[in-house]
Amino acid sequence: MSTAETPTEMPLCEQAPGENPICENPVEQFLRTDRMPHIWCPGCGIGTTVNCFARALLKTGLDLRKVVVVSGIGCTGRVAGYVKLDSFHTTHGRAIPFATGLKLANPELTVVVYSGDGDLTSIGGNHLIHAARRNLDLKVICVNNLTYSMTGGQAAATTPEDSITTTSPYGAFEPAMNIPHLVAAAGATFVARWTTFHVAQTMKAMQRMLTRRGFSFLEVISPCPTLYQRRNQMGDGLDTMKHYKEVSVSNNNANLAEIGMTKSGQITVGNFLEIERPDYLEAMRAQLRNRLQERYIEVGGAPCQN
């Protein structure tokens, strides 16, 4: 069983005696506060992941002018709109290929793809596979709430068997997609899964992704109390945290073939995979330099001006 860890390095409010007790949340600087309130429901886990992301960014000390967030469509797709970074809210399933163009045209950028399970694994599944295969330096954060939430809670490729959704009213019977297994097989060089209960681990995984090179993938299992948990009598957001705490087993060496999500069974979490192999740009440059010698003009960080 994993144990609860909370980030101790960064208290929500640092207050010296006698100081004004009203202080800013350290996460606020990463948010477009002029867009609040956000659209996410009470108990939703997406905000928790954004909190982790902001704290991870803070810890990495990355130049925020060079960090870009790309989202697709759906509840998690709205993350791009709330983070105070260059951000792109693209089309359903296509955040990864948009991010591919961004990264290749300006390799200086740290490109984060932040989207949901339906967006990244179903309609966008092909792009996920190929970006992993290329080991393109993208940091993909997939919030998996096991259902299509924005449209009202339909069955997804990630919906565990026997789950009630609006389009599986008698219970889903397709096996849920095992995302870490898929992306690892496709060639990802960093693969992790945590739940929104595991905020410290989630933040650390994000921190690692942001500072390493290559295709990095994090799945965060997250509640949708309004649509998934309610219809499946799994309680509210807090009940889901208790459930995650109870059923999660941390195992970095898990056999990825065996960690598919079930409705109420064990959730295997961990930083499953981290390997080194040349990323897309390294491989491209090496190949072209080898073949073209001095005729090859390397693409730098400077964007074309005309």
Partner: protein, 386 residues
């Protein structure tokens, strides 16, 4: 400004339309392309993939056309000029991202080397059946610009122009080629770089914090910023306000959709390119575009030999449609003859713009080959009352 000489292959060449189109893209400043192979467009990116590493840029072959058509938009927001190429089935797949480019005002070029359709149709044979798809293919109301080259030389010059128009109006631009023009090999002259005008991207001069990505501007084309420059801006395919933030009100929708439309209609004079041949005093005028106008030349010549006063009007830009030009012409002639390699798409527009002022005679063709000039000649005779 003029073209960057590193991308300009100045000289006289023997190229097919696809190859010339690639040279036009490079001269026009394209330094990024993402593509997915599809006949008869593939030679464009084959050449680009060979040329670009020695010029300084990137080609990536994506997993499908959906990916290719949005990867170019990511590249644009990172600072590159970018384009993609396809044919019918791929063009259908790209429709969603053509809408995205229109909505987010992302300057980029889509080249469609048209082949027979629908569906897989005729992969290696010509048609002009995607003209209405270019205009209305993606959902919602948006304007577009489409150019139709008639020769490999024009594949070069119009591709440069397409790249420039995309920047000037911040809109997706279509180069509507066809299989014949794409695979026909002719002399192509590429002028010196300093004589090729290239439109620079309209970038904001405001400081971060003051920049609003979709603010009002005189010409209705807001200046852009690129990712990574500290502006921390937001771009969305949702209906958005001047800050780029989603806004679901009727007022925001009306303002945005009207501006997208208006920026093109206001620029009509700068966009429209039409070639006229002996239109004054003509009883009949053949209105066409692309390869079909070249075929029509033969019919026009034969009709003139028969004593019919026949003129020609070639639509170099088909969208936005030169409505007033057609209307004015309709009032002066007995008939307009519209041959095209489809069952009558642009003919519908001509009929609408003629507003009953003259007889409109479509000369439809299902594709797979070009017209027999005799079919066009028969229509000219009919129009002239012979």
């Amino acid at each position: 400004m003029h073209a960057d000489p590193t991308g300009v292959l100045t000289g006289t060449h023997f190229l097919n339309g696809d190859q010339a189109c690639c040279e036009g893209a490079l001269a026009g400043g394209a330094r990024f392309s993402a593509g997915y192979p599809i006949t008869p467009s593939t030679e464009i990116v084959e050449r680009f993939s060979k040329r670009i590493p020695t010029i300084g840029g990137v080609f990536i072959q994506m997993e499908d056309e959906l990916a290719a058509s949005i990867a170019i938009q990511g590249a644009v927001w990172a600072g590159a000029k970018a384009f993609t190429v396809t044919s019918g089935p791929g063009f259908s797949l790209m429709m969603e991202h053509i809408g995205l480019a229109a909505m987010t005002e992302t300057p980029c070029v889509f080249v469609d080397v048209q082949r027979g359709g629908p569906s897989t149709g005729l992969p290696t044979l010509p048609a002009q059946g995607d003209m209405m798809q270019a205009r209305f293919g993606s959902h919602g109301d948006y304007p577009c610009i489409a150019l139709c080259p008639s020769s490999p030389q024009e594949c070069f010059t119009l591709m440069v122009r397409a790249m420039n128009l995309a920047e000037e109006f911040r809109t997706p631009v279509f180069l509507m080629m066809d299989e014949v023009v794409g695979h026909m090999t002719e002399r192509v002259q590429i002028p010196p770089a300093e004589t090729i005008a290239v439109t620079p991207r309209k970038l904001t001069d405001k400081a971060p914090g003051e920049f609003r990505p979709y603010e009002d501007s005189e010409d209705l084309v807001p200046p852009m910023a690129h990712a990574g420059e500290g502006y921390q801006f937001h771009v969305t395919g949702l209906t958005h306000d001047e800050r780029g933030y989603p806004s679901m009100t009727p007022a925001t929708q009306a303002k945005l959709i009207r501006r997208l439309r208006e920026k093109i209609t206001r620029g009509m004079d700068r966009i429209t390119q039409v070639e006229e041949d002996n239109v004054d005093g003509a009883e009949v005028v053949v209105v066409s575009y692309g390869i079909t106008m070249r075929v029509a030349q033969r019919a026009i010549k034969l009709a003139r030999a028969e004593g019919i006063a026949v003129g020609g009007m070639r639509l170099v830009t088909v969208w936005p449609f030169p409505e007033e030009r057609i209307h004015a012409l309709a009032g002066r002639v007995r008939a307009l003859v519209i041959p095209e390699l489809n069952m009558g798409q642009v003919a519908l527009e001509v009929e609408r713009c003629a507003r009953g002022a003259t007889q409109v005679i479509p000369v439809p063709h299902a594709g797979a080959t070009v017209h027999d000039p005799q079919q066009i000649l028969d229509a000219i005779r009919k129009g002239a009352g012979r």
